[in-house]
């Protein structure tokens, strides 16, 4: 069976003034559908760069990246936007909700920017179902600044799932949450992975997340040092 993610020889380098910084040095990695995987490593190790490339937010300097059977290595900006919209959900450390939209509008936003597609009524029904799934059905018309940190991250999770993506990328999703809320968020994502088969890939320093992961990848100095190939 084909892997959901296949990275071969991925490198990423930047120019900082006269200096060339190499963030990734020939990363090979495969992830299968339904995995619950964490990427760990010290600050500056390259894990955020790796997630950016896997999330099609950035392009590799060299190497090949196949996502769900599509080679996205050399796609242009708008093609990558479509890939992100169709196949990837994002959960950010700082939630990144749009402050002028209420909870329901934030959740439906990735579908609202699609051209054509489902009817507003059908979309709204799915939004309400997802809001129920993350425990926010009472807050559909609240603005982000009326919610707690944990509630905001639940909105972000619902927004990541509204497009029924093949992959959800979470960059330090519990970093801005207290312990209890972090546990709840981790439990929620585990349940979604278990019950709906959603593939999750995290970057984190949080040992609680690592502890729940079914697979842990370690990256150091831009290279995978452990767990790069699927078990």
């Amino acid at each position: 069976m084909a892997h959901l993610i296949e990275l071969s020889g991925i490198t990423r380098s930047y120019r900082l003034g006269m200096t060339e910084v190499v963030a990734l040095r020939g990363v090979d990695l495969t992830i299968d559908a339904g995995e619950f995987t964490v990427v760990t490593g010290p600050s500056g190790s390259g894990k955020t760069t790796l997630l950016n490339i896997i999330g099609c937010l950035d392009r590799a300097s060299s190497g090949r990246y196949v996502l769900d059977g599509i080679d996205v290595s050399n796609r242009d900006f708008d093609d990558l936007a479509e890939v992100r919209n169709q196949k990837i959900g994002f959960i950010f450390q700082s939630f990144n909700l749009i402050p002028v939209l209420d909870v329901a509008e934030n959740i439906e936003f990735p579908c609202a920017v699609r051209e054509g597609g489902e009817s507003p009524a059908a979309l709204r029904a799915r939004v309400e179902a997802l809001a129920r799934a993350v425990g926010l059905e009472q807050y559909l018309h609240h603005k982000p600044d009326e919610l707690s940190g944990g509630q905001r991250q639940r909105v972000a999770i619902a927004r990541a799932l509204i497009t029924t993506p093949r992959l959800v990328l979470a960059d330090e999703p519990t970093a801005n949450l207290d312990s209890k809320t972090s546990e709840q968020i981790i439990d929620l994502m585990l349940a979604l992975n278990r019950d709906q088969g959603v593939t999750f890939l995290f970057s984190t320093h949080d040992p609680r997340v690592v502890q729940h992961a079914r697979r842990a990848l370690q990256i150091r100095d831009g290279q995978m040092v452990d767990g790069a190939l699927a078990h």
């Binding site: 708008d78 936007a81 479509e82 950010f92 990144n96 749009i98 939209l101 509008e105 920017v113």
Partner: protein, 433 residues
């Protein structure tokens, strides 16, 4: 969710900045409407003075008259027939027909005192003076309907208009008359002896010089540009001077208020046939048209500068908005928003700013113009000494155009900030702090 809805919410996000931008737009567009209203009022003043004070709405001449007016104005005359007047009066919207003759003549004032008994010459200061003037011979009875403002202008100066077409009287420009010390004859006084009267000398229709003695019954206050060397003379007196009894060079026509002048002109042309030509004030006075065109041109430049300055404010507001929302734009791009959609979002915000600010500005300007229209501004028309009420006015088409210009301008002003927002790379925008 509709872009306009999102744009509205984004504008409401920073209320103070949006309010300042709105105020600039309202002030800019409001000022544009007010200036245009003032110019329209001034234009109407000029038009009224020319139409109702000098020419009438339309003039009928023999074919070729206007082209040859300087060379042989009197030979292109025609019979002042009741039938022709009736034909013209029967044209719909024609209110009155007034016969005229336009001619050039020399006006001489009498010596201030008799010559010395010793046969020596009068000192220069006591001698009469001669000047060349352009006279219009009029029938006071009909002219009063076609150019009633002449009577108004006399009331602002001195004396009175002649009562009858056969009166041996003239009316001169007040400044001119004072300049050469023309004595005013007051109605009811005895007519002075011939040597104390004015002499008007003019070549008749055949080119022979002829003269007539007249008194100055009144003076006209200056009300239009270049009217210092013009005079009025009763028609029958002028016909005798020019040996043109029963003939005229022009009919001045009064037209009903609000009538379509071009259409009335077409009907008059059809009524009088190919032997005659019909002119509007614009055709007789191209310099007035030039003044109006120049005003329009200057207004275009001034309003363009106004709009440009106001729109710089819009550019600034939109750029600030982009800078404040870098992370948010990054999030939108990350979840799949296309660059084109980002451009559309910011342009939608500019369009809402321009449309609402422009429409409010047009309304504020229109309110001022309407108020001033009802009240009237007592100021002279350009080149005039006679005060008249200037009533500013604007039409709905201009208000719509001003609003559209503000909207289109704001959309254009948003292009650059929108383009900058759309060129953000999501990975960098998301990392922005």
């Amino acid at each position: 969710m509709a872009l306009v809805k999102l744009a509205l919410r984004n504008l409401a996000r920073n209320k103070r900045r949006t309010a300042i931008t709105f105020v600039a737009l309202v002030a800019g567009v409001g000022a544009m409407v007010a200036i245009k209203g003032f110019m329209n009022g001034q234009r109407r003043q000029i038009l009224e003075n020319q139409q109702r004070g000098n020419l009438g709405a339309l003039q009928v001449h023999r074919k070729g008259y206007v082209a040859n007016v300087l060379a042989s104005p009197l030979t292109l005359d025609f019979a002042d027939s009741p039938a022709l007047r009736a034909t013209l009066a029967a044209v719909p919207a024609v209110v009155a027909v007034s016969p005229r003759i336009e001619f050039g003549a020399q006006l001489s004032t009498p010596d201030r005192r008799p010559p010395p008994d010793d046969g020596s010459d009068l000192p220069e200061a006591d001698r009469g003076q001669s000047s060349f003037l352009l006279f219009t011979a009029i029938d006071p009875a009909t002219e009063r309907v076609v150019t009633p403002k002449r009577w108004e202008w006399v009331s602002w100066a001195r004396g009175q208009m002649p009562r009858a077409a056969s009166d041996a009287q003239v009316v001169l420009n007040d400044d001119f008359a004072k300049g050469i010390a023309v004595p005013l004859w007051a109605a009811g006084e005895a007519v002075p002896p011939i040597e104390q009267q004015l002499a008007v000398l003019a070549p008749d229709r055949d080119g022979s010089l002829n003269g007539v003695n007249v008194v100055m019954a009144g003076t006209l206050a200056s009300a239009t540009p270049n009217d210092r060397r013009v005079g009025l003379m009763p028609l029958a007196t002028a016909q005798a001077l020019l040996r043109m009894e029963g003939r005229v060079t022009e009919y001045g026509l009064a037209v009903a208020e609000g009538a379509d002048l071009a259409e009335v002109k077409r009907l008059v042309e059809a009524a009088v046939g190919a032997d005659f030509e019909v002119h509007t004030w614009e055709e007789r006075l191209p310099f007035v048209r030039d003044i109006v065109d120049t005003q329009d041109f200057v207004f275009g430049i001034v309003s363009g500068i106004f709009l440009f300055v106001v729109l710089l404010g819009v550019v600034n507001a939109m750029l600030m908005s982009v800078l404040e929302r870098v992370r948010e734009i990054g999030t939108m791009l990350a979840v799949g928003m296309r660059r084109r959609q980002v451009v559309q979002l910011f342009i939608a915000e500019g369009v809402v700013l321009g449309l609402v600010g422009g429409a409010l500005g047009a309304l504020v300007g229109f309110a001022w113009v309407s108020w001033m229209n009802a009240r009237g501004l007592s100021i002279p028309a350009p080149g005039a000494k006679v005060p008249s009420l200037l009533r500013p006015s604007v039409d709905a088409a201009f208000l719509a155009r001003a609003t559209l210009q503000a909207t289109a301008g704001a959309a254009l002003a948003s292009l650059w900030p929108a383009w900058r927002a759309s060129r953000l790379r999501p990975v960098e925008a998301l990392a922005h702090t």
